[in-house]
């Protein structure tokens, strides 16, 4: 939610600390600030309000209250004064019996609508809003529409209470009913959408004509227009689940529906109606303005709750000892009315704090204000007792280690596939509609893919394995595959099927069990891993030494441009070491050198009696920002050749 620094400051005498300090205080003790934007001469904080704070903090007053507590600053009730202007002649009809339009509010089900306050004002004028109001709204990204709509938005952003205004003359009577719509009813929204209603949707209606979808959006029937003279104000409260379900059903989410679905106290409606009335008369009145009394239908008023906690209960959860005096000080900072009964420090839970229901909620308030930085994180919690061995994990590692030793690479494959036994209801793509029921299908693709990069990944023969979940009807278990693929251009290596056969024999020997292949493929062998493990003995210790990543290892970015392979072989005097030759080559080939491999070494007696060693290297060249041209490649190679040939008695082959 966006909040304006200037608007927040209006709750306090004097200047608030700079915005960076506010960001820090809020993020470390309340809610995360996701960003700060400079807007004109104001700052706007984008605060992440999570569901527990949303009851009371989706408004400037809620955030101001957080700062009041955390910075220990007294705050005002509102960001500005709201009062009936002296300039306008207001007939504030508070006397019983004098009401304009005889407004009547009927609530069909108090579970759906917990409170509805209606109020009539006659003789107003639609105008554009005063500058101060426009500026407040625009700072937080709200468009200014006209004085009435702006006023309702202002109150919502100030207090968190959504408000609505109807054209009183278009309602069609004096009765406002809050009830479920009938199947087949419809409503046209203010932005032209035709919404089909049914009996699960709560509407504000007159004579069964839908005026608004309760808590979400108003309809065109009684909407405000430029010649509206008389209005009905709405300040109401609805069941959060009902609003959420409806918003999802009709696919309309609004600032109002968001606040309702997070649950809001019905106690707020009265104050909101009061300040909206005053604000509207301030900015929309004429000499004929008359203000009706509030018609407040509040079937079950909210009971005040108490919540208590003892200092020792706080310590039991936090681990930190906070004294009773400290706790009471924090309660006072919050403005909680509190008392002490024996060891229990009890607060009156303010109506809007729907998040304070159990002791732990209160302990969190105490903890976050006291400061989590005060928690001691250096306790010695190691008792010497070890955990239990996980058999699955143990044998997975055993197998991985054996395969690692024999040149296999581990992959983690995708769980979603084009076909399978179990289908997703909301998949993102047709080739990802099912849960995989085997590992072979995907593995064949991975082998294909990696075969193209054999030189880049320094694997003349692609050898992979995976241990992962497969999903059959009512059966989720781990399978295990080994796959081998020789790229088509490579000759002279053992056949893929041979490698598979050999590795299976090796595994059976190491594990001392028979492996049961469950697929037909010869170059990808799949097994039921869980069944394998069931046959194996219980491990006593985690005694398998797994390879560890070099602490300083840095991932080398993968280039999207094609790579080229070139070989270079050179005869050198027998005593010359590989590194010496290599360093010269490296010097010339960098920064295009992606990979390199010594693939052949032999010593030979030359016709003249001397002994020479031949080193042959395979170079993989690639650039990060373009496709290498023939010139670039041959340029590098000829530079290498020149450099090598320049050495005494070295001869490039």
């Amino acid at each position: 939610m966006k909040v304006s620094y200037k608007w927040l400051n209006e709750y306090f005498d004097g200047k608030l600390p700079p915005v960076e300090k506010l960001e820090e205080v809020l993020t470390m003790n309340s809610s995360e600030v996701e960003g700060i934007e400079k807007v004109d001469r104001d700052y706007v904080l984008d605060v992440k309000i999570l569901p527990n704070m949303a009851h009371s903090c989706l408004c400037h007053r809620g955030i101001a209250r957080e700062f009041s507590v955390l910075l220990n600053l007294p705050m005002k009730k509102h960001s500005r004064d709201f009062s009936f202007p002296a300039s306008c002649q207001i007939n504030n009809s508070t006397e019983p019996g004098i009401s304009i339009l005889n407004l009547e509010i009927k609530i069909e089900n108090p579970d759906d609508c917990r409170r509805y306050i209606g109020r009539v004002i006659t003789g107003i004028e639609i105008r554009s809003s005063p500058e101060w109001l426009k500026k407040h709204l625009e700072a937080v990204g709200q468009r200014s529409i006209n004085n009435l709509v702006d006023a309702t938005n202002f109150v919502m952003l100030e207090l968190g209470q959504p408000m609505h205004v109807f054209d009183a003359d278009k309602i069609g009577g004096s009765l406002i009913e809050i009830k479920k719509a009938k199947i087949g009813d419809s409503l046209r929204t203010l932005d032209g959408k035709e919404i089909v209603l049914d009996d699960s949707i709560l509407i504000i209606s007159n004579n069964s004509k839908a005026l608004a979808i309760a808590g979400i959006k108003g309809g065109t029937l009684a909407e405000i227009s430029a010649d509206t003279r008389n209005i009905v104000l709405e300040s109401a409260n609805f069941d959060p689940v009902l609003i959420r379900k409806t918003a999802q059903k009709i696919k309309i989410q609004t600032d109002a529906s968001k606040r309702y679905e997070n649950d809001l106290t019905p106690e707020l409606a009265h104050e909101a109606m009061d300040i909206l009335t005053k604000l509207i008369t301030e900015i929309a009145c004429t000499k004929d303005t008359k203000v009706g009394k509030m018609i407040d239908n509040y079937p079950r008023s909210v009971i005040k709750n108490e919540l208590g906690v003892s200092a020792s209960e706080v310590e039991k959860v936090l681990g930190l000892k906070i004294s009773e005096d400290e706790i009471i000080k924090i309660f006072n900072q919050f403005g909680f009315i509190n008392k002490k009964e024996g060891e229990q420090l009890i607060i009156e839970v303010p109506a809007e704090r729907l998040d304070l229901r159990i002791k732990e909620d209160l302990i969190e308030e105490i903890g976050r204000v006291y400061g989590y930085d005060k928690l001691d994180g250096s306790k010695n919690i190691i008792t010497g007792t070890k955990g239990k061995i996980n058999k699955q994990f143990y044998y997975a590692n055993k197998i991985k280690n054996i395969l690692y030793d024999r040149g296999f690479s581990e992959i983690y494959g995708y769980a979603f596939a084009e076909k399978g036994d179990i289908e997703l209801a909301n998949s993102v793509a047709p080739e990802k509609k099912f849960l995989r029921n085997n590992l072979t299908d995907n593995s064949k693709e991975y082998l294909e893919f990696n075969a193209r990069y054999a030189d880049l990944i320094e694997m003349p023969q692609i050898k992979i394995f995976e241990i992962g979940k497969v999903f059959l009807k009512d059966d989720e278990h781990n399978n295990f595959i080994i796959g081998v693929k020789t790229p088509t251009s490579v000759k002279g290596l053992k056949k893929d099927q041979e490698v598979i056969k050999e590795i299976i024999v090796e595994l059976e020997k190491e594990l001392n069990i028979k492996l049961v292949k469950i697929n037909k493929d010869e170059t990808v062998a799949e097994f039921n891993f869980d069944e394998m493990v069931a046959k194996l003995p219980e491990p006593k210790e985690y005694d398998i030494e797994m390879p560890a990543v070099d602490k300083d290892m840095r991932f080398k970015k993968i280039s999207v441009y094609p790579f080229t392979v070139r070989d270079v072989a050179v005869f050198v005097p027998e005593n010359i070491k590989q590194e010496e030759v290599w360093n010269l080559i490296k010097n010339e080939a960098e920064p295009l050198l992606m990979k390199d491999r010594l693939f052949d070494v032999f010593t030979k007696k030359m016709p003249d009696g001397s002994a020479k060693t031949s080193y042959a290297f395979r170079l993989v060249l690639q650039s990060y920002d373009h496709t290498l041209s023939e010139e670039e490649i041959s340029g590098v190679m000829s530079r290498i050749t020149t450099k090598l040939n320049a050495q005494k008695d070295w001869q490039v082959r």
């Binding site: 999570l50 959420r244 302990i363 955990g387 996980n390 769980a415 997703l424």
Partner: protein, 255 residues
């Protein structure tokens, strides 16, 4: 020719869990598994995330197509916390477990978001486990994992299954919490803030405990959940999360 067998490569995710498990095992935590295809009950209801509650919006879910007559809704688990519930059910406290595995979120994918990623979950319930024990456990783990002194800090947050709930940051393992940075320098891992967000955590909500017949008046403790992919990507400088799950040996063979 030299017949020496060239070694293969273990996936960095496996390397992570091996190190993490070794550290937690010594601290007395048992590694536990659970299903990836979960029920709505274990993934949400038992974790105090009721239906039709905004808290459900915090995680976009992959739902399984329901068959005729099926009452319970199934999904791909959105967090490993469901395993905690399964573990506690039918067992008596104290509990000390970790769980590592895939979780699934129905989100748009890009360099930092994949539909599947890994979490490392931890749970400790006993007679008097406190938030300081949580902080200390995480401190020890991160010190050992990064093989250097790491600081841990908490920020208030909200998860339905813990109260108090918090986000956990660690001091940047690359620039030593900003201390190794020279004037004007930034850090590719922490962007110069000195801190890296790594986990959500909190004290297990009494409702969650009583839901598995553990008396919250007698027993209490903490839970934490780390997004592992992020830690690995930051540690090794991997710039695209999708590389971890696409079977691409151009990534795996670097490890």
């Amino acid at each position: 020719m030299n017949e020496k067998q060239e070694k293969g490569h273990i996936h960095p995710m496996t390397q992570f869990i091996n190190r993490a498990n070794a550290i937690f095992y010594e601290m007395g935590f048992t590694l536990v598994d659970g299903p990836e295809l979960e029920t709505e009950h274990y993934n949400f209801d038992a974790l105090n995330v009721p239906k039709d509650h905004p808290a459900r919006d915090m995680q976009d879910t992959f739902w399984i197509k329901q068959k005729e007559g099926e009452i319970e809704r199934k999904l791909m688990r959105t967090q490993t916390s469901a395993v905690q519930i399964r573990y506690m059910q039918g067992r008596q406290p104290p509990f000390k477990m970790i769980c590592f595995g895939k979780v699934f979120r129905n989100e748009a994918t890009d360099a930092t978001h994949e539909m599947v990623f890994h979490q490392l979950e931890g749970l400790m319930i006993d007679k008097d486990v406190t938030m300081e024990d949580l902080k200390s456990t995480l401190n020890i783990f991160f010190d050992k994992f990064f093989e250097r002194n790491i600081d841990v800090r908490f920020r208030p947050s909200f998860f339905p299954f813990v109260e108090p709930g918090m986000e956990v940051d660690i001091s940047c393992f690359k620039c030593n919490g900003g201390k190794d940075l020279k004037a004007g320098e930034s850090c590719s891992v922490c962007k110069g803030t000195g801190w890296v967000e790594v986990a959500g955590a909190g004290m297990v909500h009494p409702k969650v405990l009583s839901g598995v017949d553990v008396d919250p008046k007698k027993w209490r403790g903490f839970a934490f959940g780390m997004g592992v992919d992020r830690i690995i990507m930051l540690k090794y400088g991997i710039d695209d999360i999708r590389l971890l799950y696409s079977g691409d040996l151009r990534l795996v063979n670097q490890f």
